[in-house]
């Protein structure tokens, strides 16, 4: 259960973002993206505040927020690991890297670790297929990944 101060911070953050980007319908996706990036995720509190500011039903905001992969309505771990599961990475060794990654994180795709360190997601093509298999940790891209490198790469993150 989030505390009152957390809710107040969220409301303050949402107001600042809407002030900066705008409150028209076309601003909704950029606003939701900014909330995900800056506040961490789009909480029910954030949706209610947005509903007032943008004059949209929360159900409508929720339906947009849950549609796009880069928007999150769930809290995520400190680091988000995204593994490309599209065909170009798959045929150049992606299967083995995926297995190594699952084992190293002890997570299935979509899960967040109990210590809140990792969120593990699969993603569709990231558009850097020349260096597959590819994985993305937060905003760091790793290419030509081999199963042996997985632990070493994960070890770089606190």
């Amino acid at each position: 259960m989030p505390s009152d101060t957390m809710n107040e911070e969220t409301i303050f953050g949402v107001r600042e973002i809407v002030k900066r980007i705008g409150a028209t319908r076309a601003d909704l996706i950029p606003v939701l993206q900014a909330i995900t990036n800056e506040i961490g995720f789009i909480s029910p509190t954030a949706m209610e505040e947005l509903s007032t500011l943008m004059n949209l039903p929360t159900k409508e905001i929720n339906s947009v927020a849950t549609f796009y992969r880069m928007l999150s309505t769930q809290p995520r771990g400190r680091h988000v690991v995204q593994f490309c599961e599209s065909a170009p990475c798959h045929v150049v060794g992606g299967r083995e890297v995926f297995a190594a990654l699952k084992q190293a994180l002890a997570l299935e795709p979509g899960q967040t670790s109990p210590d809140n360190k990792w969120t593990f997601l699969t993603t569709s093509c990231l558009g850097v297929c020349g260096i597959g298999p590819v994985m993305l940790i937060d905003t760091d891209m790793y290419g030509n990944v081999t199963p042996e490198q997985v632990n070493q790469i994960l070890g770089r993150y606190e």
């Binding site: 992969r69 599209s86 045929v91």
Partner: protein, 540 residues
């Protein structure tokens, strides 16, 4: 532009950045200062130089020497030897037998290597993408100047005569689309550039946006003039942060130069341009879903007709063109329709940019005339198979076709591929060797559609899920021959009943798999073995 004796270009595409290109750039800055060469030698970061296997790489003109892959620690030696003493550092040159792309093109002028024909990628890797002056010095905004002295109808007829077809995958004639928007009455019209490039294996549009962003702005201005629009959007997928940054910089520069705004070149053309970053949804590459997304809604495709040419963004007539399509426009206006028709085949003029991927020696981006064959691409540009022998190529990302070895010699153009019953798609060529299992590949492709289906219409939402489950069964040894018939029925139903292109083409891998590789699939069922040993089998 300042006259310099040498020019250093450091590759700065995301792949090179991952491999430390920023550090190399800094090292060059320091060394040039150390040798007092900063006034004589120019140093720029450029986008993809075309051969990712050797990145990060450095290209030094006028010798056109490519060094790569290099470390920051190699830089002092290269500067001392090459730029200070004038001796090429042979041991750091990118291996010549593996080169394609830009260097192949440079050498081709000497008649030694197979040529690429660069129209779309003409400036990519050659100019500083963050400098409008550099673009202008390379014929930039010249085509716009030519266009505004003509009438919109004249511009449209040039595009029609050139025979340019949409490069997003469908191949619709561009001039005809422009004509539709021009002829539609409207007090407000929009031009939208579709840069939501999400087909797996396709990254040609990213390279154009990162390497030559002004070309897209110029093309959109010409399009706006031709159709009578005064506002535009570039919809770039959210994952392409560098492309978004570069385009935003380019827009700012164009505004400062009066190339965006009111009364451009003293003509009646006024144009405002916005960047809209996507938020991660493959379906938004479908033009009506893209429009919904700009409007701030879920990216669910609209029912068509009406088409965007009459009822597009906020209900207004809207022209939607792909990045690669637009990148052809300035060259066509500058050089004329007849010149463009000298490239490619009579039914599909021009060039095509392909991303060559998979089990080949050289992966990366090439731009070649329409009508080249797959065998030529693999042997000439990809330098042959890296492992095993050629089994199949998958074109155009997930919505493309599976091309078996028997179609290796079919010319790759819209018409020939259509006749052969396959499609060119968006320009990805995923080359697979005989270690790749067809069932496993189809499973990955169908999983993509299952995940990316927007869920609006039932045939696609349920069909992709059902087909994926059946493929899992086959890959785990539980498949039956009836399953194969069900897969074909699913393909047919998705094709006929889905609302948009995603669902309509989602079954293509199933159809191609059973057309060309039925025996391999049946081995999973009848014999209970996966011939390549990829599928887990035997899990009940």
């Amino acid at each position: 532009m300042k006259a310099v004796r040498s020019m250093i270009l450091v590759s700065n595409d995301p792949e090179s950045i991952v491999r430390g290109s920023e550090k190399i750039f800094t090292a060059f800055q320091q060394e040039l200062q150390h040798y007092g060469l900063t006034d004589e030698v120019s140093l720029s970061m450029v986008s993809d130089l075309g051969y990712s296997f050797a990145s990060p790489l450095v290209l030094i003109y006028p010798e056109a020497v490519v060094y790569g892959p290099i470390n920051p620690t190699d830089v002092p030696f290269i500067v001392e030897e090459h730029l200070y003493k004038g001796r090429i550092v042979e041991e750091k040159r990118a291996p010549a037998h593996e080169l394609s792309g830009r260097v192949a093109w440079l050498s081709a002028r000497k008649g030694t290597l197979p040529a690429e024909n660069r129209v779309v990628l003409k400036n990519v890797g050659l100019i500083d993408p963050e400098s409008i002056d550099d673009y202008i010095a390379h014929d930039g905004y010249q085509a716009l100047g030519i266009a505004v002295q003509k009438t919109p109808d004249e511009v449209i007829s040039i595009i029609k005569e050139s025979g340019l077809q949409g490069r997003g995958g469908a191949g619709f004639p561009t001039g005809i689309k422009w004509g539709y928007v021009n002829k539609t009455y409207g007090d407000k019209k929009y031009v939208v550039c579709n840069a939501d490039e999400s087909e797996p294996g396709t990254f040609k549009d990213r390279v154009v946006l990162e390497g030559d962003p002004h070309a897209i702005i110029e093309a959109m201005l010409i399009a706006a003039f031709a159709v009578g629009a005064d506002e535009g959007y570039i919809y770039i997928r959210g994952e392409y942060q560098l492309a978004i940054d570069r385009v935003e910089t380019a827009i700012k520069q164009a505004k400062e130069y009066g190339l965006l705004g009111e009364k451009i070149f003293d003509s009646n053309l006024s144009f405002k341009l916005h960047v809209h970053a996507g938020a991660g949804a493959y379906i938004c590459g479908e033009e009506t879903a893209l429009i919904e997304s700009i409007e701030g809604k879920r990216g669910e495709p609209r029912s068509r007709p009406p088409y965007p040419t009459t009822n597009g963004l906020w209900g207004k007539p809207t022209l939607v063109n792909n990045v690669e399509t637009l990148a052809n426009i300035p060259a066509i206006i500058r050089n004329g329709a007849d010149w463009y028709r000298t490239l490619g085949t009579p039914s599909s003029p021009g060039t095509k940019v392909y991303t060559v991927l998979g089990n080949v020696n050289v992966t990366g981006l090439i731009e070649v005339p329409m009508g080249i064959t797959l065998r030529e691409v693999v042997s000439i540009y990809a330098k042959g198979m890296k492992t095993g022998s050629f089994k199949l190529a998958q074109t155009g990302g997930s919505s493309g076709s599976i091309i078996p070895a028997s179609l290796q010699d079919t010319p790759m153009d819209f018409e020939s591929f259509k006749k052969a019953g396959v499609s060119l798609g968006s320009g990805a060529l995923l080359i697979c060797d005989d270690e790749v299992c067809i069932v496993d590949l189809a499973k990955v492709l169908l999983n993509f559609f299952r995940v990316e289906s927007c869920g609006k219409c039932t045939p696609c939402r349920i069909g992709t899920k059902r087909a994926y489950d059946l493929l899992i069964d086959i890959s785990q040894g539980r498949g039956t021959l009836e399953n194969l018939e069900e897969l074909l029925t699913l393909n047919q139903e998705m094709l006929e009943l889905s609302n948009c292109g995603l669902g309509q083409t989602a079954g293509v891998p199933l159809r191609d798999m059973l057309n060309y590789f039925r025996a391999e699939v049946e081995a999973h069922i009848r014999l209970g073995v996966c011939p390549t040993g990829v599928c887990p089998m035997g899990i009940s």
